[in-house]
């Protein structure tokens, strides 16, 4: 099947050509439509090609080598099950984002800074997934970083964005160097950079451990694992919203792909203890990410933090898969891996949807600060519905898709008693508790988002005058919302599609689900556990309909409008509503001290004093304070110290030269 890989590479070439075309089109008014139109079409083609590969019964891999890149190995590309799955994620996200961009892009103030890089970014992500040698992989990886950096810098005049871009690219480069070292270890002294060669070699256990550590640094920094996540809540919100959606929904998944590709595909047998590290980091990431999200006021930053949480969930699941694989429990490993991949897909769906929604709100009101929004459910009827679907899905509640994948993760956790190692036995339930905590907090977080932004009464003039957004944006969001719903109702079909992927990585897939009665999801055995999203949905819908039907037919259906109860106060101003911050306050009191060193200060005037009372809350970013701030200080200190060398006298410089000479001569004299 060289055809489909050729087709995919062709798509990438067209995307790159589109990027160049975008430079050429410049300020032309049609540029936005042309570029996004082309990217949408190309993504659709690539999506079909990838889906064909994924659902193809033969599951044959195809490879292609182009005479580009490193001269003696060329640029190798390979389309297998894993890359096909991630291509689906990438191109689905890309296609929908393009569709959204068709409408959203017309509001762009500086299209010249977005249009050339958008197709390039898509091309970069596609290339990463297709790459089959270390050079092509890193090339595409870094190209993806660079083009997304340019997109982050699109609105460079807004305060903070330049810093966001800076931190982003430095962290990306850090990640790339870590990956480079990992590949260097894997390739060995002979420079076998083709993945085919890496796969063929039996790696030492030390190498495997080091590679895992480096991959956690490399892929983890791109995916946003704590404590390497600092760039993410800065960079994702800075980009235009459809790009934020791509970065959060898709690019972090490409990082996950990198991790899976190297750890599951290239390295071979993992160490069991390494899975503890992965799981623990994943669990910590999930909890810390969602807690940070809860404390946020900026809707896009909140969504970015929530991405960190979901990445944590995915890594917990990957860690489980590693633990099972190390102990030869293939079916359980397949379950955990499938859960991770399913969550990858789901997160791409709902996080893109939510970012689109945030973009729509931004278009309609110009606001990202949730405390200045409210009541949009009346002004933006369609957006409010699809956004609700997104919130519901990301909160891991049945019957939507977020629950289906988290349920699979929990099922995988429940397989852990069979693991022989004591460390794992003790670790896994604790991680499970962390995941449950994260899931519950996620629900709280998205109640806060939806409640503050769409419900209640508008808190600013901009929110009062909001208008529903254009049809392209709505179409993009509706597609994703229906995908959330479909994946939630038919999880079995998704699991079946993922089965060959798991099979190619851990040597086993989950049992076929499509034949099970009522399309239930039964990962291991029916006596152990099963779940049927379709039936749950049907039952709830039916019961609700029954209730409505009976009550409306046999009881009352009269409605009267009246003012809300305000404790007897004459007029309730919009400021008297519960705000997002106050919503999060109880949770802040529970976890804030630990996670943010939160500190509340109340300035209460003495009785009789007419001064307003003030409540000041200070929160610290402990990750930044304890890791990055010392690094920054260290670099500054060293730079400042060394900088003195710029201002020496010529005589002193000569002294240095002299000293170097004498030292070398001394070495020679002593050595000889």
């Amino acid at each position: 099947m060289t055809g489909s890989i050729g087709l995919l590479l062709g798509c990438i070439a067209v995307l790159l050509a589109t990027a160049i075309l975008a430079i050429g089109l410049g300020r032309s008014g049609r540029a936005t439509q042309v570029i996004y139109g082309v990217t949408a079409a190309i993504s659709a083609v690539a999506l079909v090609a990838a889906l064909t590969q994924l659902l193809d019964a033969l599951h044959d891999n195809s490879t292609l080598t182009l005479p580009l890149g490193l001269p003696w190995i060329g640029a190798n590309f390979r389309l297998d099950m894993l890359s096909a799955f991630f291509l689906v994620v990438v191109n689905l996200g890309g296609g929908v984002a393009s569709l959204f961009g068709l409408g959203y892009g017309t509001h762009e103030t500086t299209p010249g800074r977005v249009l050339p890089f958008f197709p390039a970014f898509l091309a970069g992500m596609n290339l990463v997934v297709l790459a089959d040698d270390a050079f092509a992989f890193l090339f595409a990886w870094e190209f993806m970083s660079l083009s997304s950096w340019a997109l982050v810098m699109a609105h460079h005049r807004e305060p903070g964005n330049a810093r966001a871009g800076y931190i982003y690219l430095v962290m990306a480069s850090f990640g790339t160097l870590a990956l480079l070292l990992a590949f260097g270890l894997l390739a060995g002294p002979d420079g076998g950079y083709a993945f085919e060669m890496i796969r063929a070699v039996e790696h030492k256990s030390l190498v495997v451990a080091l590679v895992l550590g480096l991959m956690l640094l490399g892929a983890g920094s791109k995916a946003g694992l704590v404590p390497l996540h600092v760039w993410l809540p800065l960079a994702h919100p800075a980009a235009p919203s459809h790009v934020s959606a791509l970065m959060s929904g898709v690019m972090t998944k490409v990082a996950v792909y990198g991790f899976i590709r190297v750890i599951f595909d290239l390295v071979g047998e993992p160490n069991w203890w390494s899975s503890i590290i992965v799981m623990f980091i994943g669990g910590a990431t999930a909890v810390f990410g969602i807690l940070s999200a809860l404390m946020e006021r900026d809707i896009k930053r909140l969504l970015a933090y929530s991405t960190i949480e979901n990445i944590g969930v995915i890594f917990v699941s990957l860690g489980l898969a590693l633990a099972f694989e190390a102990n030869g429990m293939r079916l359980a490993a397949a379950l955990a891996l499938t859960a991770a991949l399913f969550h990858v897909l789901n997160h791409a769906f709902f996080k893109s949807l939510l970012f689109f929604g945030a973009g729509a709100v931004l278009t309609a009101t110009g606001e990202r600060d949730m405390e200045r929004l409210g009541g949009l459910i009346h002004r933006m009827p369609v957006t409010s519905v699809v956004f609700l679907v997104g919130c519901f899905a990301i909160s891991a509640l049945p019957p939507l898709n977020g629950f289906a994948s988290e349920w699979l993760v929990f099922q995988a956790i429940l397989q852990s008693p069979d693991l022989p190692q004591f460390g794992l036995k003790l670790m896994v339930p604790a991680v499970g508790g962390m995941l449950a905590l994260a899931a519950a907090l996620a629900a709280a977080c998205f109640i806060k988002v939806y409640g503050t932004v769409f419900l209640g009464r508008p808190r600013s003039a901009a929110a009062i005058e909001a208008r529903e957004v254009d049809h392209f944006s709505l179409a993009a969001m509706s597609i994703l919302a229906s995908l959330c719903l479909l994946a939630g109702m038919f999880p079995g079909l998704v699991v079946d599609a993922l089965s060959p992927v798991a099979n190619s990585l851990v040597g086993s897939g989950l049992p076929r689900q499509a034949e099970i009665a009522w399309l239930s999801l039964v990962p291991i055995a029916e006596s152990r556990s099963s779940y049927n999203g379709l039936l749950i949905f049907a039952f709830v819908a039916l019961s609700a309909w029954l209730a409505v039907f009976f009550i409306h037919s046999f009881a009352s259906r009269a409605v009267r409008r009246g003012p809300a109860w305000g404790c007897g106060l004459p007029s309730l101003s919009a400021d008297m509503q519960y705000s997002g911050d106050s919503f999060a306050q109880p949770i802040r009191r529970v976890f804030g001290q630990l996670a943010f060193r939160a500190h509340e200060e109340i300035d209460m005037p003495a009785p009789g004093d007419m001064r307003a009372a003030r409540l000041t809350v200070t929160m610290r970013d402990i990750v930044w304070d304890s890791i990055y701030a010392p690094i920054v200080r260290g670099v500054r200190f060293v730079a400042k110290r060394l900088n003195g060398l710029q201002f020496l006298t010529i005589r002193r410089y000569l002294s240095i030269v002299f000293a170097a000479l004498v030292t070398l001569l001394l070495v020679l004299a002593l050595w000889a």
């Binding site: 049945p398 499970g432 508790g433 709280a444 409640g451 419900l455 152990r528 709830v540 009352s556 404790c567």
Partner: protein, 316 residues
């Protein structure tokens, strides 16, 4: 198959009918314990009927979500309650959700309830929703750890299987089971907004959680929400009964007699559960809102300890 569906339908109808009764029972017993006469145990039914007949007064700002939420909350809770084995195991649709899914389904109902609380744009709804979110964020992990403990013992998260295993003699008495039971009761109290977490009978704004959220509701909407609350209480009592006192449950394929026996046993369990709850509520005082995390934290720790102890006992 028809019969199976019939039994399943029976279960659905049973929980619907029994839920207000359980609430009435608890209220009556509490009143008696407080040396009051108290309303009849059937009072909740009358309340519901009266509320259903009344017209709805909507806040000026309320959206469609506010109107749809009560039905969704009711439906989700009803489905969840119907999926817990009450008088028989292995019902026809029982496999469509395991214990995790049932817990999550209750979470779905809570999601809508919290949103509805925030819709009117008053501070009461917000207060209630935010406190509910805080409580849930601790109760849900505790619940999940309890599920882990049970699943480790029974090898399944499917309630029917769990009940069957629990009923079998080889489970025996275990420390972790006790811990799970205590933790589950604590979670149940929190989830159902009972004393000492919340007081279902109060309308003092500083202490309300659940009632604050539903303050704007009236008429048939309020009826739906009250009904859902009653169903939820029933759900948790049934859950505790089915897992920790699984005796008397009719096995799949057993005859009508077994089912009748099961149903009687179930009624008895409800009675005992309701009585214990009433006694407990009368004997305890409501705690400050910010003591709640400590309470639920204890449940969480118990759950975790139970799980870990299981590993210890297994590997020894």
């Amino acid at each position: 198959m028809i019969l199976d569906i019939l039994v399943q339908g029976l279960q659905m109808a049973a929980v619907l009918l029994l839920a207000p009764l359980l609430t009435g029972l608890v209220r009556k017993l509490k009143a008696r314990l407080q040396r009051r006469q108290g309303a009849s145990v059937l009072q909740p039914y009358r309340d519901l009927v009266r509320l259903l007949r009344k017209e709805v007064v909507l806040a000026e700002n309320a959206s469609w979500l506010f109107r749809a939420a009560p039905y969704l909350i009711f439906a989700a809770t009803w489905v969840a309650a119907a999926l817990v084995p009450t008088f028989a195991t292995g019902l026809y649709f029982t496999w469509s959700a395991d214990l995790i899914a049932i817990t999550a389904l209750v979470g779905s109902a809570r999601f809508f309830l919290s949103l509805a609380g925030m819709d009117a744009g008053t501070s009461f709804g917000g207060i209630g929703a935010s406190r509910e979110a805080m409580i849930a964020s601790l109760a849900e992990p505790a619940m999940l750890l309890i599920v882990f403990s049970l699943a480790l013992i029974a090898g399944s998260t499917q309630l029917s299987t769990v009940a069957t295993v629990m009923a079998s003699p080889d489970v025996g008495l275990r420390v972790s089971l006790g811990m799970a039971l205590v933790a589950l009761i604590m979670v149940a109290i929190a989830e159902n907004a009972r004393v000492p977490i919340d007081n279902p009978a109060t309308h003092l704004e500083l202490t309300m959680v659940h009632e604050a959220m539903v303050l704007e509701y009236s008429g048939r909407h309020l009826a739906m929400i009250e009904f859902a609350a009653a169903l939820k209480l029933l759900l948790y009592v049934s859950l505790i009964a089915c897992v920790f006192v699984p005796w008397g449950l009719a096995q799949p394929g057993s005859g009508a007699l077994a089912h009748i026996l099961g149903f009687t046993a179930y009624l008895a369990k409800l009675l005992v559960g309701g009585a214990l709850l009433a006694v407990f509520e009368t004997a305890t005082a409501k705690m400050r809102v910010f003591r709640v995390p400590a309470f639920l934290g204890a449940a969480l720790m118990l759950g975790l300890l139970g799980t870990l102890l299981l590993f210890v006992s297994r590997s020894l």
